[in-house]
């Protein structure tokens, strides 16, 4: 096995049997996560991120394909995997009637960490997670952000080489989200821990050095965030039309316009030449009595790239059909 590959899947398929047939949650996913990398599995709700994570960890059986983590097959080496990885489930809860310290100690002992090691590690870990001042507080009394930090501390107590975090910032305020991502940054720098994160937030993808875009059970793109953004041809214009619907109908047919996306009350337009097309669009809309407010070129973000890639994916699928 390649020492550098920490997580790998090959044509991974997972179907759930439901009342009226089968749901295909993962539809042939092939991905690789290299050592020390922060890999973001990005996609909307229902894309199959949680299922993929669970199958990799051996928490769910797979229908077909291969998956392994740290060189251990997900299905066969169940307990060897569980001793070596950290995981925060999406809808996780830690025992709320245990204190912060009791929780960390519980997970340490279940992970086979000796008492001497616990004495050495736990204070550092709580310091790292910013929980040193709350050791005696019941987990149920922590704020949302602190609960996530406690979960992270618990999942790191056996010093795993890789952690898998399923939407770790779900339901957390923006400040705590930033703090949490800073912790992950420290973790990667100081310990070289490989981090696999599932998230629907496109801005979090920018924090990863590799992202996989997942949609309807498939991995539709995987590359560095920069490369993913370059996958969308053209450059991006943004403006706010005075009359939204007619503008949205008109713009796609103009020359040089590659793709139109809506963004709140604004339009995001991919064009071949931003200066020239910007003027042309303004003129064409003015002819219809529509004014353009704040016309400017912006950087393509993950969000626009993702929407564009999904569109091409579904267009390709309907062409094939």
């Amino acid at each position: 096995m390649d020492e550098q590959v920490v997580i790998s899947t090959q044509n991974l398929v997972k179907q759930f049997q439901v009342k009226d047939g089968a749901v295909t949650a993962i539809d042939g996913v092939t991905l690789q996560v290299r050592r020390g990398e922060t890999y973001g599995l990005i996609g909307p709700d229902g894309a199959g991120k949680t299922t993929t994570t669970r199958v990799i960890l051996g928490l769910l059986t797979r229908t077909s394909g291969q998956s392994s983590i740290l060189g251990h097959d997900s299905m066969r080496d169940t307990y060897r995997i569980r001793e070596r990885v950290g995981y925060i489930a999406q809808q996780f809860a830690l025992p709320g009637d245990l204190t912060v310290m009791e929780n960390v100690r519980f997970f340490a002992r279940v992970q086979g960490v000796s008492s001497a090691e616990q004495r050495r590690r736990i204070p550092d870990l709580l310091e790292f997670a910013g929980l040193s001042g709350f050791t005696d507080r019941l987990a149920s009394r922590l704020s949302g952000g602190m609960k996530k930090k406690l979960a992270l501390a618990c999942s790191l107590v056996h010093e795993p080489q890789v952690v898998l975090l399923d939407e770790p910032t779900l339901g957390v305020d923006p400040v705590s989200r930033r703090e949490f991502w800073n912790l992950l940054g420290d973790l990667r720098r100081e310990r070289g821990t490989t981090i696999f994160v599932c998230t629907p937030y496109m801005d979090e993808a920018e924090r990863c050095n590799w992202v996989g875009l997942m949609y309807e059970g498939r991995l539709i793109a995987h590359d560095s965030p920069g490369k993913i953004k370059q996958m969308v041809p053209g450059r991006l214009l943004e403006f706010k039309p005075s009359d939204f619907v007619p503008a949205w109908r008109l713009v796609p047919d103009l020359p040089g316009v590659l793709e139109v996306q809506t963004y709140g009350a604004m339009l995001h337009i991919f064009v071949d030449d931003p200066d020239r097309r910007g003027r042309e669009i303004e003129a064409a809309l003015a002819a219809q009595g529509i004014t353009c407010e704040g016309m400017r070129e912006i950087e393509t973000r993950m969000e626009e790239a993702f929407i564009s890639l999904i569109r091409k994916q579904s267009a390709g699928a309907s062409d094939a059909a």
Binding site: F16, L57, F92, A93, D97, L98, V110, G112
Partner: protein, 391 residues
Amino acid sequence: MRGVDNMREGLRNRIRRLSAIIQKEAIQILRDRGTLVMLLLMPVLEMFLFAYAVSLTVDHIPTAVADASMDAQSRAFVGALVASGYFDIDMYVADETQVIQAIDEGRVKAGIVIPPNFAAQIERGEAQALVILDGSDAASVSSGYSAANAVAQSWAMGLTVEKVARVGAASLGGDISLPIRTSTRVLYNPDRDDMIFIVPGLIAILLQVMTIGQAATAVVRERELGVTEQILITPARPIELLIGKMVPNLVLAVIVMLIVVLFGIFWFGVPFKGNPWSFVWLSLLFIISGLGLGLLISTVAKTQRQARQITLLFMLLCMLLTGLIYPRQPMPPIVKAVSNLIPATYFVRIARGIITKGVGLSFMWADVLVLVVYSVVVVVVSALTFKKRLD
């Protein structure tokens, strides 16, 4: 050498995991003060409730007598019934029909019919008397039937007890007749001190409901909250999780058992006739079967609400079917079959056998054997349902 070290390390980790899980469950039980206090106080409360209910036992039941013999023996028998304190003779009538009529009209609640040649039949040891009870009055039925049995017992004769629903003579053909020869309640309870019978049975019921409820909700609550997945991803083995959940609840159940027994002995004066150690061992067995059953229920119940409802259903079945209040002999076969599926049915008998009668294991080996098999089966099955994956 390395293999031995690995094994030793493996064992050390297993012990660490197990003790961590046990400690976690114990902390959680102790932190949930409300539930804990209720679990510890409930038994005492229920004992008082039962004691109070027992003191409401109906006596001085208005009775009609149809004595076809009118000899010394029959008069003595009726006299004994009156002396028991349960029956007051309000009227003498000619025959069974008139007795039933009197009950139908609500003038009496019980009737005693003595056939001709009673004295001669007593001589031959084949005396039969019929006690008819007003089936619409559950309290006088159970009191009257116990009392009549006790008297009949001392007269060494067969007794036919019939329940008559007060619905008129037309439907009398369909009446349930209860040809009961003995009643344990009366046989071993000559002083009518019902607590002697209630306490052992109560231990069984309380432990049954508590163990099922504790085990089922402990698992379902974690699943509902989302703790299960977070613990499943640790190296803890299913069997360790199972034992870890059982041990603290087992200790708690033993404490409750001791509370009930000690309270029964020192407050209600229930004599403990048998061997305390066999009682402790057998209750451990019984507790394990209950916890196993609770864990099995947790695989069916999706929510804590459902778990509680199933537990409640068990409580009802226990009260009605295990022989705690109602004797099991007259139950229809299908009801009996259902009651045979409840561990408490066996333990009610075992508890009464040891505490009240003071008999040894040799008298109840069948019940013990069933309980052993039961425990092994539920624990093994629930261990198998504790999976290492989510699907």
